[in-house]
Each structure stands twice: as structure tokens, then as C-alpha cells.
Symmetry: C2
Subunit: 112 residues, 2 copies
DNA sequence: ATCGTTTATCGGCAATATACGATAAATAAA
DNA sequence: TTTATTTATCGTATATTGCCGATAAACGAT
């Protein structure tokens, strides 16, 4: 049976983890959602929808991606969902991204 | 007829730019390529291929994405291509990402 | 000019992502 | 209980991404 190649096979775990942060940020809607969540401190899907040029179901999907990548936590609160930024995960993300950036800048003295 | 919605419509330019960096980093192969380029300072596609579990044409496509997002420059050098990390762009990326991270951490005092 | 080397691009296919409307599920309000 | 509200999920359509093999393009070497 053919080995099903996934995005993650054959790469170091730290590289895969960093790419996961990239995936989370790879769509403007998700970046915008993170900023909105941070500004309001506590938020629900509906209010976010009002500020985005997307349907409610689409926003819900983007929130799911952010949850999958760990940047956001969601709790049910009555008929609403309370989405919060996971500050620990944001810090973890920034640690990984800064580590990557540092190693790129440190060594990237191109001789071309 | 219908307006063709692209990924970028309806979002602030800074948000779109940040999402572009995310897109560049959103695949483990691209993260790995950046690290390899930084380590070797100067590199060609073929040598990178040897270190990645991907076909030469696939690596070339990932390099194209990195070029599109500005993180990498490529110069033709005889039959080879010399790919270099664009250190200025890396710094610009880190500035954007750190700005995002700071604004998320500053305000993300979740009361849920 | 021909041959070997190297990289980019093309064609095609499978998988994933994006988007929307409709609907289900859960709860608050009446 | 019925109704209204809110969010998640389903179904579906389209676009994009990712992957490979094959081939083209460019060049150095012979």
C-alpha cells in the first residue's frame, strides 16, 4: 500500500511545528481574527463576523484552524462560544519564529 | 459577473502582508529550505534536493513561493541557480511577526 | 555541433483550502 | 412548549496547493 505522504513526513519536528504556526497565520482572515480577539479580550463568533467580509460559517472554519494550531481556545457559554487567545501558545509561537528568524539572520551573509 | 473573491480582498494591507509571511512558512519544506540556505550561505537547487524528501521539481516550486513572498532571491549562474536568503526581507518579516505577537500578548488577558 | 548537467516549467492528478447556504444543535426567552 | 438566537457542521462547488515525471531551456565541456 502506498505510503501516503503527508505535509509533515520527512521533516524535523521543530520544522513541522514552525510550519504549523505559518499555516495558522497564512490567511488574512485568521490574522485579523487573532487581532480582533486580542482587542476585545473576550469574543464570540458572531461579533467577529460583523467585522469580516466573510460568512459566519467561513469564520467558524477559520476559528477551527486557529484552534487546531493551538493559538485559540474556545469555551461554550450558553448559546455563545467564547473564544480566547491562548497567550502561552502565542509566546511559544513567537519563540519558534524568533528562533527561526535569528538563525536565518545570523548566517545569511550571502556572497552571490 | 460575481466579484471573484481573492484571499486578500477586504483586509488591511498590514494584515495581508503578515499573512504572506505565514504563507511562506506554512510548509515544512519551505522552512527547511530557508534553514538550509542560511547554513550554506550560497546554494543551488540541486544540493537542496539532496537534503529533502521531495522531487527536484517540487523543490523548485517551493523556491518559487519563497521568491514570490520575497524571502529568497535567485540569480542565474551558468547552468546553476544561486539562491540566497534576502536578509532585509527576513528582518522585515520578523518585524511584522513580532509586531503581531506583541499586540496579541499585550492585550490577550482572557477573562473566560 | 553534440553531449552532459542543472534548473524551470508543463501537464496531470490528488489532496487541501476556501467559501457559501442550509441545517442541526444548544440554549435563552417568551 | 414554542420561538428566537447563536454557533458548529454538513454538503457542495471552486480554487489552490502539492507532488511527480517528463520535457524544455540554458550553458559548459568536448
Amino acid at each position: 500500500m502506498g505510503v501516503t505522504r503527508t505535509r509533515k513526513t520527512g521533516f524535523a519536528t521543530e520544522v513541522v511545528r514552525t510550519a504549523g504556526w505559518g499555516r495558522a497565520l497564512a490567511h488574512p482572515a485568521r490574522v485579523a481574527i487573532l487581532i480582533l480577539l486580542a482587542e476585545r479580550r473576550t469574543c464570540v463568533c458572531g461579533e467577529i463576523v460583523d467585522d469580516l467580509p466573510l460568512a459566519q460559517s467561513t469564520v467558524s472554519q477559520h476559528l477551527r484552524v486557529l484552534r487546531e494550531e493551538g493559538l485559540v481556545r474556545g469555551e461554550v457559554d450558553g448559546t455563545r462560544s467564547c473564544y480566547c487567545i491562548d497567550a502561552d501558545r502565542v509566546r511559544a509561537m513567537m519563540t519558534d519564529l524568533n528562533r527561526l528568524g535569528a538563525s536565518l539572520e545570523r548566517k545569511a551573509a550571502c556572497g552571490c
